[in-house]
């Protein structure tokens, strides 16, 4: 998916850069916040919905300092972040080698295609009942669900990246006396780093989707739990605050990976 602009900031005038990266996003975000405030005001207006006014902008903003100072946000962000990180790392460690095997060998690709597509299209959360029996701890079950969901984009992006590698490069490096390890570190990885990061970006998006429902059940920590907790205690201001935290964190993580994708891109037209 696209998102960030592709212009090189140093080539643009400073004022243009400010406009594109500060002014427009601020106005855009301002409109979103304005809509939120309007929604809250409409809720407060009607007596039927006045119970839900805490969903509005001002109550949420008022709830945020307390949630930060009590360590509530930090605690749940930490719990979710830990699960997400381990899940993603496992997905990368498993996915990249599988992707390389698929990308390099036509036979592996054909044998694995149907079983992998079938497994990929099993909605990850449907594994949950099984996973809970298999793993002694809920934490491990959640990490497994994240890994199972996040592994496929890494696999297929890695395989697609390898297919784009010019076979002549292998010949050239072999002629120059490169060992297999050198081939891997000097040719294959630099060539497919861009694709791997593109896959990781997709994986992150999917892992982020899976994380919240996985934490709705069984555990008492993490962002998903915080949402459920706020809902059950009717603390709607806390609920919207957590929704915003989830959005901001996801946005930051996604922007970071998008930067890595750009950093490792050697295809200039992208």
């Amino acid at each position: 998916m696209t998102g960030t602009t592709t212009e090189n900031p140093t080539r643009l005038k400073r004022s243009e850069w400010l406009q594109d990266h500060i002014l427009y996003p601020s106005i855009g975000f301002g409109i979103l916040i304005g809509l939120w405030a309007l929604g809250g005001w409409l809720l407060a207006l009607s007596p039927e919905t006045s119970n839900f006014t805490k969903f509005g902008l001002l109550p949420t903003l008022k709830a945020v300092p307390g949630l930060i100072s009590s360590g509530y946000i930090a605690e749940h962000v930490w719990a979710s972040g830990y699960r997400l990180a381990i899940g993603l790392i496992l997905a990368i460690l498993v996915g990249v080698p599988i992707g390389i095997a698929i990308g390099l060998s036509k036979i592996t690709e054909q044998i694995s295609n149907e079983p992998f597509q079938l497994l990929r299209m099993v909605s990850p959360l449907s594994w949950m009942p099984i996973v809970v029996f298999v793993f002694p701890k809920w934490d491990q079950a959640i990490i497994f669900l994240i890994t199972v969901a996040a592994v496929w984009p890494v696999v297929y992006a890695t395989a697609a990246g390898l297919k784009k590698v010019d076979p002549a490069w292998f010949k050239v490096s072999k002629n120059l006396g490169a060992s297999f390890r050198q081939l891997l570190s000097e040719v294959i990885f630099p060539a497919i780093a861009f694709d791997i990061f593109t896959g990781i970006r997709l994986s992150l998006g999917i892992a982020w989707v899976v994380l919240v429902p996985a934490e709705l059940l069984g555990v008492s920590s993490g962002l998903g739990y915080a949402i459920k907790d706020a809902r059950e205690t009717l603390a709607y201001d806390q609920l919207t605050a957590m929704v915003v935290v989830i959005g901001i964190l996801g946005f930051i993580l996604d922007s970071f990976v998008a930067r890595m994708v750009k950093r490792y891109s050697w295809q200039r037209d992208l």
Binding site: M1, T2, F29, F55, I111, E114, P124, L125, L253
Partner: protein
């Protein structure tokens, strides 16, 4: 040509039988260990035995149709809102700059975290689930449409105008054929995300659909029907993804 198809079919069957073999082996391990014997119904044998009952009673068909209609409406709403948003982003630089940050933010709000709000805002759970699906599926479609438009060569519009094309002709003969590939790619991604979202969305508050069937079999310790449902979810997802992929190939004008 014919030989290639045979080889393809052979490899597919071989791969699927490896998967089946692993499943069978897992079931055997469960069965042979006294501590896990209670879970032996996860294996392929008991799963196979449960199929006639589940299909005979219409449980699977009903759940599939219910989930399918939620998915269909949710995706349709996502397409109907996503394509115009994508066209706006692709055609207007100002709109793109304004909307990029808020849209990326909304995209990265995990869809299920809207659930409590959706349940309160919408009168029925059914609508809440459809809303969650649309909320998850709209972004891949919008961003793919915008990316597709960005690739359009401005010269095509000039040529079309010089040849006397009306606004409708430009839309029908240039824009839609050119971006069909990207829109379908976006729909395929959206389908993948929607398929992930629908199961947990059906875990709560509702008594129909594939997610509910998973939840129900788990609570009643009916592991064989749980395994059947997982299999059905995989097969339906596989078929839908395959249809999307075939449509993408059909509308692709990028010759490799």
């Amino acid at each position: 040509m014919f030989g290639a198809i045979i080889a393809r079919a052979f490899y597919s069957l071989f791969g699927l039988s490896i998967l089946f073999g692993l499943w069978w082996y897992g079931g055997w391990l469960l069965e042979s260990n006294p501590a896990t014997m209670g879970f032996a119904d996860f294996g392929p044998g008991p799963t196979y035995d449960a199929i006639p009952y589940l299909f005979g009673e219409g449980i699977i068909q009903e759940a599939s149709i219910t989930s399918g209609s939620r998915l269909g409406i949710g995706l349709l709403l996502a397409i109907v809102t996503g394509i115009p948003i994508g066209i706006l982003m692709g055609r207007s630089k100002v709109f793109k700059k304004l909307s990029n940050t808020p849209f990326q933010f909304l995209r990265m709000v995990s869809p299920l975290s809207w659930e409590p709000i959706a349940v309160i805002a919408l009168p029925t759970w059914n609508q809440a689930i459809i809303f969650l699906i649309s909320m998850a599926a709209v972004w891949p479609i919008a961003f793919a449409t915008a990316a597709g438009l960005a690739k359009l060569d401005p010269a095509w519009f000039k040529v079309a105008r010089n040849l006397g094309a009306t606004w409708l002709d430009v839309l029908k003969e240039i824009i839609l054929p050119a971006i069909a590939f990207d829109v379908l790619t976006g729909i395929r991604l959206a389908l993948g995300v929607a398929w992930i979202v629908i199961v947990p969305a059906e875990f709560l508050g509702i008594t129909s659909g594939l997610g509910y069937t998973i939840q129900d079999s788990r609570e009643n310790l009916e592991y064989a029907s749980l395994a059947v449902t997982i299999l059905v979810i995989g097969v339906i997802g596989f078929l839908m993804d395959g249809i999307c992929l075939a449509a993408i190939k059909r509308f692709s004008w990028h010759h490799k």
